[in-house]
């Protein structure tokens, strides 16, 4: 395989000769454009790399992904559907007032704040059962 490849390469090398000359010419031109070497910094041990400063401007996948996630989160916060407004707190009543209002069929809803005991209240109100504080029944 190696001999066959060598023959193919030799034939290719002959065809490639003009381009090879061009490559050499290009190499010489690049060499002539070489920038200065910072000899003083090398000898003093203070040589700094220059390219990384430029690289900071470049597109970085990690940075891009982070920015994309942040933007998505911000957009989600801005455009999420408005939450239902919180209901106004029900007025707090004493047990006696609650019982009186239930009996008068004036309460639609009863919220029990203390649940240390239990009692049934017979009422025509929409709330058939309430939890009451022990000792107040």
């Amino acid at each position: 395989m190696s001999e066959l490849m060598k023959q193919k390469l030799a034939a290719q090398e002959r065809d490639f000769a003009p381009l090879s000359d061009l490559l050499k010419r290009k190499f010489e031109l690049d060499a002539a454009r070489a920038p200065e070497v910072d000899i003083a910094a090398i000898m003093a041990g203070t040589l700094k790399k220059r390219a990384p400063q430029r690289r900071r401007l470049l597109f970085r996948p990690a940075l891009a992904v982070t920015l994309l996630l942040l933007l998505t989160a911000a957009a989600a916060l801005l455009y999420r559907p408005a939450l239902a407004p919180e209901e106004a707190p029900l007025p707090r009543l004493t047990f006696d007032d609650a019982e009186r209002l239930i009996n008068a069929n004036k309460l639609e809803k009863v919220t029990i704040l203390y649940q240390s005991g239990r009692a049934d209240i017979q009422t025509d109100a929409p709330v058939p059962m309430v939890w009451v504080r022990k000792g107040e029944n």
Binding site: L9, L19, R54
Partner: protein
């Protein structure tokens, strides 16, 4: 190493160290970095090299290896360089080159851009340095078969690219 020896060595070799790095990296900023790093390495390793020939051989190998390493750590094309090279570059050899030569040089540049850094490195070692397949294989730490196939591919692709551009 004293300052004047180092200064003389740098002046003698910086052209091809830079051109080698630029040939492989296709970025002036990266090539400049590699050039500075190569000379920094030379400054610290100089005492281990026993002759001028050894220094030259060492510099060539280090320039190629550092350039190939630089391609691994930076896979992104620098926008700044791209713009500088493609938009603002002008021939700087006194206008002696013909328009045709300029066009060919530009196309060759584009053709080289299409190759991988490894292919460019092998092309450089064979076409410009004139190294044997065995020497290239030793420098690249790969088999002779790999060197041959990469060289074949590199030449073929540059030719095809230039032919396509000419039609």
């Amino acid at each position: 190493m004293d300052s004047s020896t180092f200064d003389r060595l740098v002046k003698e070799t910086k052209g091809w160290v830079f051109a080698t790095a630029y040939h492989i990296l296709r970025s002036r900023a990266e090539a400049e970095d590699v050039m500075q790093e190569t000379f920094l390495a030379l400054y610290t390793h100089y005492d281990t090299l026993d002759s001028k020939e050894a220094v030259y051989r060492w510099l060539k190998t280090v320039a190629v290896n550092k350039s190939l390493n630089a391609t691994k750590r930076n896979v992104f094309v620098e926008l700044e360089d791209f713009v500088a090279e493609r938009v603002f570059s002008t021939p700087d050899d006194g206008g002696e080159r013909s328009v045709y030569a300029d066009q060919m040089m530009e196309r060759l540049q584009e053709g080289l851009d299409k190759l991988s850094p490894e292919h460019r490195a092998i092309l450089l070692m064979r076409e410009i340095e004139g190294l044997s397949y065995e020497d290239i294989a030793a420098k690249m730490d790969c088999g002779i078969g790999t060197v041959m196939s990469r060289l074949f591919y590199a030449r073929q692709n540059i030719r095809k690219f230039l032919e396509r551009k000419n039609t």
